[in-house]
C-alpha cells in the first residue's frame, strides 16, 4: 500500500521546513519527499492544494474512558474524535476503572485500539496499585505490555516516602514518571483558583502554592534520584518559573500544559459556568500569560488536550458539584492555531508543541516528516474556520467552554501509517 500527497504546503516542525512539496508513504513509513515522491508510483494520490500537510498531532493526555466508564465515552467514539481532530498518537492516563495497573488490562486496551485502526495509543501505566499510593505496580511487566511511562493521573501521592521510592524504582529501569503537581492537603475541597473570582463567587479555592509546593517536593526527589520526570498540566506563573530554573540547572524534567489554560482564566467562569470547571483550575490572567510565554519559549515542552469527556448530567450541576474537565481532542489543533495567531508565531513553531515535542517526551519517532518516520500526517486548511457545535463533535463528551466559537483549522484528512483514517465528507 502506498499513498502520495501532492501540492501540499508541507510543514515539518522538527526541521523548520515550511514549503510546497510532495510526500510518499510506503509500508506505513515516509519513503520519499518532493521530487522523489513526485516521480514515484503510488496506489492512491491525494491532492492537498491550498492545504497544510503536517505531522499528525501527538497528544500526551486523552482520557478514552475505557475500561469502566463507557457511559461517558467509548474507545470507538474517542478514537473517532482523535482522528477527526488530526491526532494520530495519544497517551492515555491510567485513571480508568479499574486503573491501568495490570498488564492484562493494558494489553486488552491496546488490542482494542489496534482493532479500531485509528490513532496510535500509548498507555501510561499506574505508578501504584489502584492509584492508591501504597504499593508499586509491576512496572517492568507493564512496560513490556506497552506502557510508555508511569503516572498517578490526577490522584496525588500523599506519602512523600512512597513518591521517593517510586521514583527510585522507576529510575532503576529508565522509566519516566509523569506527575501532576498538586499538594493534596492544600487542594482538598477546592474547586477554583484561590483569588478574587473565587472570593466573589464564594467558591472554595485552591491556592497556586498547592502546585509550587508539589513541584518543589518533586524536584528535590528528582535531584536525589536522577529519575526523569514529566510534570503534567502546569497552571501557575510560579510553577512555570520553577520549571524554567530546574531546566537551567540541568534536571531531567519536562512539562506540559492543557490547551484550555492558554486561552481561559478564572474570569471566564462568569456566572458559575461549570464548563469552565477544570482540573487544575483555571487561574488568574497573569498565570495564563505566563503559561503562554512558557510554551512560546520552550519552558513548557508541549501542549496537550487533557481530553476529559463528561456526560451532560455531570455538568448540569452547581459549579462545585459538576465534574471537572473538558473535551479536547477535536479542539487541540484549532485552539493551538488560535494561540499561534494571537502570538504571531510561524506555523511550524506552533505545530512543534503538538507534534515533535510531545513525541520526544513519549520517546517515539512520530511527529516529524522525514524519510523513515511513521507515515502519520494531518491535512488541514489553516484559514478555514469551523463553528463548534455539539453535533460537529465526534467525541461523546460535548463539554467545552468553546461551544459556539468560530475556530480556525478545518481538518480535511488524517493519515496513520499511510492509511487514510479520517476524511472530511
Amino acid at each position: 500500500m502506498s499513498l502520495r500527497i501532492t501540492n501540499a504546503r508541507l510543514i515539518d516542525p522538527a526541521s523548520g521546513r515550511d514549503a510546497m512539496g510532495d510526500v510518499l508513504i510506503e509500508k506505513g513509513r515516509i519513503a520519499a519527499l518532493d521530487g522523489d515522491a513526485r516521480a514515484a508510483r503510488a496506489e492512491r494520490t491525494l491532492d492537498a492544494a491550498g492545504r497544510v500537510v503536517a505531522p499528525g498531532l501527538v497528544d500526551l493526555a486523552a482520557r478514552l474512558r475505557e475500561p469502566g466508564e463507557e457511559y461517558k465515552a467509548t474507545l470507538e467514539s474517542e478514537m473517532d474524535a482523535a482522528v477527526a481532530g488530526g491526532v494520530t498518537s495519544l497517551a492515555c492516563p491510567p485513571d480508568t476503572d479499574p486503573p491501568l495497573d495490570e498488564p492484562g488490562l493494558v494489553d486488552m486496551l491496546r488490542r482494542r485500539a489496534r482493532a479500531l485502526a485509528r490513532a496510535r495509543l500509548y498507555p501510561i501505566g499506574a505508578l501504584t496499585v489502584k492509584l492508591q499510593g501504597e504499593t508499586l505496580t509491576e512496572m517492568g511487566e507493564l512496560s513490556e505490555s506497552g506502557c510508555v511511562a508511569f503516572s498517578q493521573a490526577n490522584v496525588p501521592l500523599q506519602d512523600t516516602q512512597m513518591l521517593w521510592r517510586a521514583l527510585q524504582y522507576a529510575g532503576s529501569f529508565g522509566f519516566a514518571v509523569w506527575l501532576r503537581p498538586a499538594e493534596p492537603w492544600l487542594s482538598r475541597g477546592g474547586v477554583a483558583h484561590d483569588g478574587e473570582v473565587a472570593t466573589r463567587l464564594g467558591l472554595p479555592g485552591i491556592p497556586s502554592f498547592a502546585e509550587t509546593i508539589a513541584i518543589c517536593t518533586i524536584l528535590e526527589i528528582v535531584r536525589a534520584t536522577g529519575t526523569r520526570v514529566h510534570l503534567c498540566r502546569l497552571s501557575s506563573e510560579a510553577g512555570v518559573a520553577m520549571v524554567r530554573a530546574a531546566k537551567r540547572e540541568g534536571l531531567p524534567v519536562s512539562c506540559d500544559v492543557g490547551v484550555h489554560h492558554l486561552h481561559l482564566c478564572d474570569i471566564d467562569i462568569g456566572y458559575f459556568d461549570s464548563l469552565c470547571r477544570l482540573d487544575p483550575p483555571l487561574r488568574a490572567q497573569r498565570d495564563r500569560e505566563a503559561l503562554s510565554a512558557g510554551v512560546a519559549d520552550g519552558t513548557i515542552d508541549c501542549v496537550c488536550s487533557d481530553h476529559t469527556p463528561v456526560d451532560e448530567d455531570a455538568k448540569h450541576q452547581p459549579f462545585s458539584e459538576a465534574a471537572p474537565g473538558a473535551t479536547g481532542l477535536e479542539l487541540l489543533l484549532p485552539l493551538m492555531l488560535r494561540w499561534g495567531a494571537m502570538r504571531k508565531r510561524p506555523l511550524a513553531q506552533t505545530l512543534a508543541r503538538i507534534s515533535c515535542d510531545p513525541a520526544r517526551i513519549l520517546g517515539v519517532r512520530s511527529g516529524r516528516i522525514e524519510i523513515g518516520a511513521p507515515g502519520d500526517l494531518v491535512m488541514f486548511d489553516p484559514e478555514g474556520s469551523v463553528r463548534l457545535t455539539p453535533d460537529a463533535l465526534k467525541s461523546q463528551g460535548k463539554n467545552t467552554p468553546f461551544l459556539g466559537y468560530e475556530l480556525p483549522g478545518q481538518v480535511h484528512a488524517t493519515i496513520v501509517a499511510g492509511k487514510v483514517v479520517y476524511e472530511r465528507e
Binding site: D194, G195, E196, A198, T199, R200, L201, G202, L203, P204, G205, P207, I267, D268, G270, Y271, F272, D273, S274, D313, H316, Q317, P318, F319, S320, E321
Partner: protein, 318 residues
C-alpha cells in the same frame, strides 16, 4: 461571558440571584418598594392582593427555619399560595437531580422559586432552566450570596443612617464562609459607601477580599474606630475549634463584640446581626440587647424587603 441573568431586556428584575451586578437604581427601587410595604405589616389586616393566584415554592435544599419563615410570611402577606419543600430530606436524598426536581415543580405551575442551596451558584443553574414566566429568588447559596439579607441590611442602614455616602461600616467575623458579608459588601459599594471594613483573623478572610472594595483589619478596636454601623457575622459551631480557630473563647476575646470594644465606634453606632446569634461567641448579651442594637427591627424590615423583591420579580409592584 453570559449576560447578567438577573435582569430582563428592559433592565428590570427577572430573578434575584446576587447583589453583585445589580444596578444602583434597582437596589434603590427595592428599598423604596419595601417602604410602601412597611405600612402593610403594621396594619390590622396585613395583606395586599398583589400576588393573588400566584404560587411561591420555597425550595430549601439546606435546613433553615428563620429565612424560610420570613419568606413564607412575606408571600402570604402578598396573598400568594405558599408551598414549603424541605428537599434536604426528600427527593434529593433519593438521587433525583436538582434540575429534575425543579422541572417537576415547574410542572405544578410555580411562579416564584425561593431557593436555598449549599452550593454556590445553584440558583443560577435553576434560573437558566426555568420558563420565562418563572422567577428565582436566591435565599442563600453556599458562601456566595444571600441577597435578600443584604437588601434588608441596606434597608436597616438607610432607616437609621440615611446617607450611604457618609458611612463607615464594619463587618466582623467569619467573612470567608459568609454569603451575608459578600452580599452586604456589594450592596454598600454599589450605593457609594466610602468606607467598608472587614475585621477578623486571616483564617476567616477569603483570598483577595480587598478586591471587593473593603479594608481589612485584624485588630477589632482599630477596625471599629469611628464606625457608624457594625455588622456581626454568625460563627458556625463546626468552625469554632479546628484549623481556623483554636476555641470559641479565644475568638470572643479578640473578635466578640462587647460594650468596651464598641466604645471605639461613634456614639450613635448601630449594631446588626443576621441571626441566629451565638451569645458569648460573636456578641455579648449586653450589646445584643443594648441601646445600639437594631437586630430585631432587622427581622421586621426583612419581611417588607422580601415582599418588595417578590412583587418586583413578579412584575406587579406599583
Amino acid at each position: 461571558m453570559q449576560r447578567n441573568p438577573q435582569l430582563n431586556r428592559n433592565g428590570e428584575l427577572q430573578h434575584l440571584l446576587s447583589i453583585d451586578g445589580l444596578p444602583r437604581e434597582v437596589i434603590e427601587r427595592v428599598l423604596a418598594t419595601a417602604d410602601s410595604f412597611i405600612g402593610v405589616t403594621e396594619r390590622e389586616v396585613k395583606k395586599v392582593p398583589l400576588l393573588r393566584g400566584k404560587s411561591v415554592f420555597n425550595l430549601f435544599f439546606e435546613p433553615s427555619t428563620r429565612t424560610r419563615t420570613t419568606f413564607e410570611i412575606a408571600a402570604k402577606r402578598l396573598s400568594a399560595d405558599v408551598i414549603n419543600l424541605n428537599i434536604a430530606v426528600s427527593s434529593q436524598s433519593k438521587g433525583e437531580s436538582l434540575l429534575d426536581t425543579v422541572a417537576n415543580l415547574s410542572a405544578m405551575q410555580a411562579d416564584i422559586f425561593v431557593v436555598r442551596h449549599g452550593s454556590a451558584g445553584a440558583p443560577y443553574l435553576i434560573a437558566r432552566h426555568v420558563k420565562p414566566h418563572e422567577h428565582v429568588i436566591n435565599a442563600g447559596d453556599g458562601r456566595h450570596a444571600h441577597p435578600t439579607q443584604g437588601l434588608l441590611d441596606l434597608y436597616t442602614l438607610r432607616h437609621y443612617k440615611k446617607d450611604f455616602t457618609q458611612l463607615t461600616v464594619a463587618i466582623v467575623g467569619d467573612v470567608l464562609h459568609s454569603r451575608v458579608a459578600r452580599s452586604l459588601i456589594h450592596g454598600l459599594t454599589t450605593l457609594g459607601t466610602p468606607e467598608v471594613r472587614v475585621i477578623g483573623p486571616q483564617t476567616l478572610m477569603p483570598a483577595g477580599v480587598e478586591a471587593l472594595g473593603v479594608h481589612v483589619y485584624r485588630d477589632m478596636r482599630e477596625g471599629l474606630r469611628d464606625c457608624d454601623a457594625v455588622v456581626m457575622l454568625r460563627l458556625q459551631n463546626e468552625r469554632m475549634r479546628g484549623a481556623l480557630l483554636p476555641s470559641a473563647q479565644e475568638f470572643f476575646k479578640h473578635y466578640g463584640l462587647t460594650a468596651d470594644k464598641l466604645a471605639a465606634a461613634k456614639p450613635d453606632v448601630i449594631v446588626m446581626h443576621p441571626g441566629p446569634m451565638n451569645r458569648g461567641v460573636e456578641i455579648d448579651s449586653s450589646v445584643a440587647d443594648g441601646p445600639h442594637s437594631v437586630i430585631l427591627p432587622q427581622v421586621t424590615f426583612g419581611i417588607a424587603v422580601r415582599m418588595a423583591v417578590m412583587s418586583m420579580v413578579a412584575g406587579v409592584s406599583a
